[in-house]
């Protein structure tokens, strides 16, 4: 199997850059809230120093806001760390449900910008496949990108994962405008290379308003 960068070229770097920019934006937003909460606590302590009474509720509200943002940043940084380590090994046996969860989390800002909600309830049982983690993330992101543009009623996309004979299928549904978006996105060189490298296949069912991605196990080269 070709290495990550041979398959993706500059597009791989672009994917990495897009995700990193989105992550940094999320971190900045959380930091901005912590900054304002800390500033307000400082304002309140200056008042207290002057003998002006400070309501305990205002203090509690700000400390709880800081704790909430610390938890949020911890989640963002955990995802960033998983994403960064996905290029460590060109091939590994992984749980596809965890990769879908990661890509969904990393894409949350892009979804919010489009007013789309992406819902994924990972099944309790793992779905293992031997594949390239970084290329799989890239392919899932491209599918999600197409799905976000074709999102249907209420703009909620459900992600479903199911086992197949040779691997795992990821379904994106409902996509009311999927018929209008087929073709161009999937004939791109990048998509073709990814599908070939991952032994994957994309199917579009216009009747069901659904896009599905079937991932096979990549043979281990000895």
């Amino acid at each position: 199997m070709k290495g990550n960068w041979e398959v993706l070229g500059g597009a791989g770097l672009q994917f990495f850059g897009n995700m990193s920019a989105s992550i940094s934006h999320e971190i900045k937003n959380a930091l901005a809230i912590i900054n304002e909460s800390a500033g307000l606590l400082e304002d309140l302590s200056l008042r207290a120093e002057k003998g002006i009474p400070v309501e305990p509720e205002r203090l509690k509200k700000q400390t709880s806001s800081i704790l909430k943002q610390v938890r949020r940043m911890d989640g963002i940084i955990q995802n960033m760390n998983k994403f960064a380590h996905s290029i460590d090994e060109p091939l590994k046996t992984l749980d596809v449900t965890q990769t879908v969860t990661l890509v969904n989390n990393l894409s949350s800002r892009f979804a919010a910008m489009r007013g789309v909600v992406v819902a994924y309830q990972a099944p309790s049982a793992p779905m293992m496949v031997h594949t390239s983690p970084f290329l799989l993330e890239n392919l899932l992101w491209l599918c999600l990108y197409v799905a976000m543009n074709a999102a249907g009623t209420g703009k909620t996309i459900n992600l479903l994962t199911e086992k197949t004979e040779g691997g795992v299928r990821v379904r994106f549904t409902p996509l009311d405008r999927i018929s209008g978006t087929t073709g161009r996105e999937f004939s791109e060189e990048r998509m073709e290379a990814l599908l070939a490298a991952l032994q994957a296949e994309i199917n579009i069912d216009e009747g069901k308003h659904e896009l599905s991605l079937s991932i096979g196990a990549v043979p281990i080269e000895l």
Binding site: K28, I33, E36, G39, S65, R109, G115
Partner: protein, 142 residues
């Protein structure tokens, strides 16, 4: 003179705390998490400055900036964002933003920018009034 400010950002917690601090400093602050609602508020109220995030759901900050300047060209818009790039900053200034600040921002700096924006707006409004008066005098032939 009290500065009347509209804060537009999709982070509700950020709006809550920043507006509380600004009100404590004597400003008259309104907030909204939606670009559409911001445009409605502009129809109903007059503001000295609008503090706007660049990344907003459905209509991003630059689109909203264009819509604001089209509706009320005299309005002073300050962009406050966690998504700052030189390119976006230049684009925002070309579209008529008076300043571009990066999150997390220092409230002292933001307050100064708002005061400057209020002064700019007063100059623009005074000029507009002067033009109107001149026009009336010309038309009426006094």
């Amino acid at each position: 003179m009290t500065e009347k400010v509209l804060l537009v950002d999709d982070e509700a917690d950020f709006l809550d705390t920043l507006s509380e601090r600004m009100r404590d400093r004597g400003m008259d602050v309104s907030t909204t998490t939606s670009a559409e609602d911001a445009l409605k508020k502009l129809d109903a109220e007059s503001y000295d400055a609008i503090v706007l995030d660049l990344m907003m759901p459905e209509m991003d900050g630059l689109e909203l900036l264009k819509a604001i300047k089209k509706k009320k060209p005299e309005l002073q818009v300050i962009l406050l964002t966690g998504y700052a790039t030189v390119g976006k900053g230049i684009e925002a200034m070309k579209l008529g933003a008076v300043d571009f600040l990066e999150k997390p921002a220092d409230l002292k700096v933001l307050t100064e920018k708002i005061k400057e924006a209020q002064a700019n707006k007063m100059v623009i409004v005074e000029k507009q009034m002067e033009e109107k008066m001149k026009n009336i005098i010309r038309v009426k032939g006094w």
